[in-house]
């Protein structure tokens, strides 16, 4: 149909299409409208045919579907080989991957196979021009992400290769409303792989339902490195329980082993948009801020009066959280 489409790699786990893939279809739709081109989706797996309509509802025009029993579960080599072949055959101008664990395994392998540029964990994608040595590349993908510890924001381009490739975390791009009547053309592609293309043997897969639902929660109480002791972490948890909130945290808190990875919020964790975000002992590094900046209300509690977050929150309290949180709890408890 259109050789210069915006292609999205669709991740599926246990026959369910990942949310991040739907978010990226919506984002691809926005980019494709600007570029006056189509949105295509690449789906690899087994027994997924009935699940493909949703991709059309969110904005796909074409769906490339590669069905093979051996592709039921993700492994690096065959997935990368097929995606690279699809890209070579259909020549999209942009390829987007969800920056999930498997997406971050797959995308760099595809980029090396095609010698194409790839930017990880973009927080914003735009279409724009790039001027270099007197030449102008028009309407290329601007891949925007924080870098170097979050003190700068870099705009990356891949001007001389096609496609431009980028990965984006779940929750960063907003979903648009689905159109149940929208249809896409399903193009079944053959899987021409031999046994040697499947070096990895999957012996066991254990996946539990998510125990933390940060994306869907209305209130989040989050801990930063100011929550240094078990006692203060317990206090943060107590506040979350009292408010019916989920617990989130910054990356150093995960690195220190205080809370599990699924609680991490920020550029390399979840992006959240709750009604209320209470940041406890969080300094407000850009990498964290990009994950919370669209919260409706933010309360920041920090004992350091110079913490950047105190200048950007809606409500700022300078004080030790061990002293502030009990005052909040007392008020909340008085309602009951």
């Amino acid at each position: 149909m259109n050789p210069k489409s915006v292609l999205v790699f669709i991740e599926q786990n246990d026959k369910e299409i990942a949310n991040v893939s739907l978010e990226l279809i919506c984002e691809a739709r926005r980019l494709a409208n600007q570029l006056k081109t189509s949105v295509s989706a690449a789906v690899l797996g087994f027994g997924l045919k009935k699940k493909l309509d949703v991709l059309a509802h969110y904005g796909s025009d074409e769906i490339y579907y590669v069905e093979d029993k051996r592709l039921e579960h993700f492994t690096s080599v065959p997935y990368a080989k097929i995606i690279a072949e699809l890209i070579t055959k259909h020549q999209p101008q942009i390829v987007l991957f969800g920056a999930t664990i498997n997406g971050r395994d797959l995308a760099p392998r595809v980029s090396a196979a095609l010698s194409c540029g790839l930017t990880a964990d973009c927080t914003n994608l735009q279409i724009g021009d790039y001027n270099f040595q007197g030449k102008t590349k028009e309407n290329i993908l601007l891949q925007i992400r924080p870098a170097f510890g979050g003190n700068i924001i870099a705009t990356i381009v891949s001007p001389d290769c096609s496609p431009s490739m980028a990965s984006v975390r779940e929750g960063v791009m907003k979903m648009s409303a689905p159109d149940q009547n929208r249809k896409a053309k399903i193009i079944e592609e053959k899987c021409e792989l031999t046994a040697s293309d499947f070096p990895t043997e999957v012996c066991e897969v254990a996946r539990a339902a998510k125990s933390v639902d940060l994306k869907g929660s209305k209130i989040i109480v989050a801990a930063g490195m100011g929550v240094s002791s078990k006692e203060s972490l317990d206090l943060v948890k107590k506040l979350a329980t009292a408010l019916g909130a989920e617990i989130g945290c910054t990356r150093p808190v995960v690195d220190a082993g205080l809370l599990p990875l699924e609680c991490q919020i920020g550029q390399t964790g979840s992006t959240v948009r709750p009604n209320l975000y209470i940041a406890c002992g969080i300094s407000g590094q850009l990498q964290h801020w990009t994950g919370i900046s669209e919260s409706k209300r933010i309360i920041a509690i920090n004992s350091d009066p110079n913490a950047p977050i105190l200048k950007v929150a809606h409500y700022s309290i300078v004080g030790d959280l061990n002293d502030v949180i009990p005052k909040m709890l007392k008020k909340i408890m008085s309602y009951e």
Binding site: N13, C116, A120, V202, L276, V312
Partner: protein, 284 residues
């Protein structure tokens, strides 16, 4: 048979521990003032290599000062070390970096397992490992937290996936990237630190397998230093010209200040805020 293991290490600024004197007046970080360390997850990868008890060659790509991270690897138990350094490799993006390291691995020739950290703390891209695996045409296992077994033909690993884990088995050779949860890396051995404290680099030292025969009793005498020419690297694939991604622009970010309301740390003011948010149906 002894497994031949290559570990990839990167020297990075210690972004996790930013000293006060590294903060500039405008609130941004002066990167050159940060201490240079071995990327933390690369030490986890080295620890896995040491547990397998193969013969370990550590490779880094960086400026001459990156010799420091190779010494750190030797102190902890690596058997040999290679410094890939050349101004022609400067300004490499992940793809050009993976090209240079692939050329160095090809110069070494024989290997069974390549181990590296899942990602580096300065870029967090997690791209170089898989890109090398693709360029070498070998399998990859990323984000591994446990090497369950390794024999001369296969490895079996535990890999973290979204929402859980999986157990994977792969034939050798394979590239494995290791997560920080995998282990607690050992510190440097005093004896080895004494032995390698003053080790220097030797240019274009060819790779020999003498060290693979410890019964001969030879230890690593020099760190091998390889340039782009030594690697017979195609200069079009190196540095800036080998990097498809370009930085269009960089902005120092100053978070846009909001009309922030300061709430005093008193029971009255905090109570009033909670009440206000309740009335607005933000809470409750």
């Amino acid at each position: 048979m002894v497994l031949r293991i290559i570990t990839l290490v990167k020297q990075v600024p210690d972004t996790a521990n930013i000293p006060d004197n590294a903060m500039k007046a405008d609130g941004t970080v002066n990167r050159s003032a940060l201490p240079a360390i071995t990327n933390p997850e690369d030490l986890n990868a080295l620890e896995e290599a040491l547990k397998i008890k193969g013969l370990i060659t550590a490779i880094t790509l960086g400026p001459p000062s990156a010799i420091k991270v190779l010494k750190e690897s030797l102190y902890r138990g690596a058997d040999d070390a290679v410094l890939v350094t050349d101004a022609k490799f400067a300004a490499s993006d992940t793809l050009a970096t993976s090209y240079a390291l692939t050329k160095a691995i090809e110069k070494i020739g024989k290997f069974d397992i390549i181990l590296c950290g899942r990602q580096a703390i300065d870029g967090d891209t997690a791209q170089v490992g898989p890109q090398i695996a693709q360029k070498l045409g070998i399998n990859q296992l990323t984000g591994v937290v446990e090497i369950i077994s390794a024999d001369k033909e296969h490895v079996k690993v535990k890999r973290i996936i979204d929402g859980g884990y999986e157990i994977l088995k792969s034939p050798l050779p394979v590239l494995i990237t290791v997560r920080g949860e995998a282990n607690e890396p050992r510190g440097p051995s005093v004896k080895r630190a004494m032995l390698y404290k003053n080790i220097t680099c030797k240019c274009n030292e060819s790779y020999d397998e003498a060290y693979l025969h410890p019964e001969i009793g030879c230890s690593c005498e020099n760190i091998k230093q390889w340039s782009a020419e030594d690697l017979k690297a195609d200069l079009k694939m190196c540095g800036l010209s080998g990097s498809p991604t370009k930085v269009k622009n960089i902005e120092n970010v100053v978070l846009a200040a909001r009309n922030t309301r300061m709430i005093a740390n008193t029971a009255e003011d905090i109570g009033a805020l909670m009440q206000e948010l309740t009335k607005e149906h933000i809470i409750g």
